[in-house]
């Protein structure tokens, strides 16, 4: 039965995440924006709360770990129990609860959310493709994601980092940049090629211990926004990892090509979309409050054109927010119900990414000096938000993914 409201069972989780956002993140958000590269120690205390959420029986995390592949058919819960009849065989699971809690914590702060221990995008990758044995081994570790290289950004198939089998080990060589939480994490999930001549099918992901002597931290980036989150550059020099740390299938299968590595995105893109939705909500909530103090309140029942220009803007921004929010929940809902969701994940990411940039910029504009000044967080959110339309696939990459799928065109036809 069609219903697009948040299920009741997730309300406590959302409330808890909202409290974290408002009580913990807002007060320290500016501090770590100004103190780039300083470790937000307040978050260590939080990780206890987050782990508590994980074990609270809702089976959900506050971060990206909740994004996981659902392989069981709808109608069965994760523990093998049959879903109650009342649910009609539909489940609202960890992808949805993660999306919802990420929306809340990113309404608090995107940089701090990205710095939450053990909630990295690498964890999402592990959750998506690791074997049960690997999942157990990496449990309770904080994993970051290393895909991008100086010469390979959106074109992930062009990465030059190599992994050569040597006995029971792989030897990794190459350079990785833009590794979110790279300094603070325990594990780095590295994309590398088993054979550069075989193209994208040879790209595999490897779990590298942060303490591995072959993995050197080169530098931390200075950024436009999300400064609370460290962004690392690594060099891999004869970095040896056990063969058992290759994630997923070790064989090169040219027929399935990139699928294995790329399927991570079906789960992580809705989470990044959720970040953008949360940041958009933050901008709209604060702007609505500031404009209300100036006597501007949007009336949803009156046509926009009979209201003030500022009120009309609020109505349009709220509408675009709604579209982004619902596209995100749909993508997560599909992941929870084992429905293929590549296109929907990209739609959510594309809409949420552009909406958050556009809304944040407009909110700065509407609030004028207050919006532009460091006295409020609006200008920071406008800087933070831009990354959400870039990482985990830029706006343009999402449009490519969607168009190729809808038009049934290959990457050589639609380049």
């Amino acid at each position: 039965m069609i219903d697009l409201e948040v299920p009741k069972k997730f309300i406590p989780l959302i409330k808890q995440a909202r409290t974290v956002a408002e009580e913990v993140m807002w007060p320290i958000a500016r501090k770590y924006d100004l103190a780039e590269h300083a470790y937000p120690t307040e978050l260590d205390l939080l990780s206890g709360v987050i782990d508590g959420l994980d074990d609270s029986g809702t089976g959900t995390g506050a971060g990206a770990t909740g994004a996981s592949q659902t392989t069981e058919p709808a109608g069965h819960l994760g523990d093998g129990k049959k879903a109650p009849e009342a649910t009609g065989g539909v489940r609202n699971g960890t992808n949805m609860s993660s999306a919802l809690s990420i929306m809340e914590t990113c309404r608090g702060d995107v940089g701090l959310t990205l710095s939450l221990p053990r909630q990295g995008l690498g964890n999402a990758a592990i959750a998506a493709v690791a074997t049960p044995e690997q999942k157990k081994r990496y449990d309770a570790k904080w994993a970051s994601m290393a895909i991008t290289e100086p010469e390979a950004g959106s074109d992930a198939a062009a990465i030059r980092t190599t992994a050569i089998k040597d006995g029971d080990e792989y030897v990794l060589n190459g350079e990785k940049i833009y590794v979110t939480a790279g300094e603070r994490c325990d594990l780095v999930v590295v994309w590398a090629s088993l054979d550069l001549s075989l193209g994208r099918a040879a790209i595999k992901s490897f779990v590298v211990e942060r303490s591995n002597p072959g993995l050197t931290l080169e530098r931390l980036e200075h950024k436009l926004g999300i400064r609370a989150s460290d962004t690392a550059a690594f060099r891999l020099s004869d970095c040896r990892v056990p063969a058992s740390d290759l994630l997923g299938d070790p064989e090169i299968r040219t027929e399935t090509g990139f699928g294995g590595a790329m399927q991570t995105f079906d789960n992580t893109r809705p989470m990044v979309a959720a970040m953008a939705v949360g940041l958009t909500r933050a901008c709209l909530d604060l702007t609505t409050k500031l404009l209300k103090a100036e006597g501007v309140v949007a009336d949803p029942d009156r046509p926009a054109h009979v209201q003030s220009a500022a009120a009309a803007r609020l109505l349009q921004m709220e509408a675009d927010y709604e579209a982004a929010y619902l596209l995100t929940l749909r993508a997560a809902w599909m992941a929870d119900n084992a429905k293929p969701n590549s296109v929907e994940a990209s739609m959510a990411k594309a809409k949420a990414g552009r909406t958050c940039v556009s809304v944040a910029f407009q909110c700065v504009e509407l609030c004028g000096a207050t919006g532009y000044s460091e006295r409020e967080l609006l200008e920071k959110w406008a800087r933070d938000g831009k990354i959400l339309d870039i990482f985990e696939g830029t706006q343009q990459i999402q449009l490519l993914v969607i168009a190729r799928r809808l038009l049934d065109l290959s990457s050589s036809q639609l380049r």
């Binding site: 039965m1 949803p300 009156r302 926009a304 109505l315 709220e318 809409k351 343009q396 168009a403 809808l406």
Partner: protein
Amino acid sequence: MQDLNRTSIADRSTAFGLRMLTKAGGLPILQNSDTRKRVEKLLYRSTKEGFRSATVATKTFNRVTTNGSGPARAKTAKPKVQFDLTPTDDQQMIQEAARELASVVLRPAAEKADHERKVSDEVKAQAAELGLVLIGVPDELGGIAEERSAVTAVLAIEALAHGDMGQAAALMAPAAVATAISQYGDAGQQKTFLPAFTEAEEAPSAALALHEPQPLFDPLAPRTTGKLSGDTITLDGVKALVADADNAALFIVGALIDGEARLVIVEAGTDGLFVEPDAAMGVRATNAGRLIMKGVSVPKENLLGTAEDHLDAVRRARLAWAAAAVGAGQAALDQLIPYVKERQAFGEPIAYRQAVAFTISDIAIELEGLRLAVLRAASRLDRGLDASKQISHARQLAVTHGAQIGSHAVQLLGGHGYVKEYPNERWYRDLRGAGVLEGTLLV
């Protein structure tokens, strides 16, 4: 070309009826005897007579007074707790039926209906078979609604508008009036005005007339006024783009009464009521007209519902138009996808160019956003929750992105999109309307 169309509609119409039965009969959900009964009611309604619109003032409504028995209302659907995008079996069935009507009957007749500004009798007859006019009228009042469901209504309107928004609006305009009377009316109003829709051999043409001609129109502040004095209301004002105004037997008009926007039932043929043609850019099959009221007196009992009900009608009409925009937008996308792959320029399909391909992606993204916003608003209505904000979102998305999809639909075909060789120029005109029009439809 038009002759060819006409024959094929007639042929297809017969085929359609049969196919519907075959198709519906094969659905596994019809194993359930309750569902089967409803389907049968839906399918076999008023097949014995062809549908003809009533002429002005020939239709008389005999006032019925009730001794205290309350009005019947369709039940609202029961709340469920799961986030879910799966329609119920009943909804899928209605959706299927509406889609079939849209593709087999409405789409082939669309160009002619747009040009002639009318829905042909053949099309009306086929649509009447489905009984969609009674989609919001409860069982006990002779309708087909087991539960009142805005979700069901938006799914049906979307499916019909995928075939043709103009004919969809024309066919569903009387449904808006029937729904409004059953939802807002007292027992007397229900008994007086509903039998014409549920029992009579010729269901009347009727219109929910909220729009007015002035720029910056706000339906919550209509210029049309109603003066209450004794037992009568005297109406003065002009309603714009009223569906089938010159044939409608019954109007529900929005008017300011004692400072509040209210709904008033007005029968055609009342003294002081005039109709002028009011052809528009799009949604032309509704045969829109202006309804001019000069000292029109109606009995006080014709006041329909409360000020809150008027507001509810304004909202539900906007949601219905947003649903129509989803249908027309999807129709455009469905046509554009094969087109841009076939159309060659510079030695390859234009779909190979990002400028074209990204436009397809943008259409799909905004269309899905609009669709989900419509569904959420509708599901909130069905739950009995406040949906004012969600309806505003759906409306706003239809205003901006819906219209933009219409514009893209022409642009991607270039000159071919601008000529009547393709339906794209009609989608352009219709999609502009979906975010502008007030009233006429109701979910």
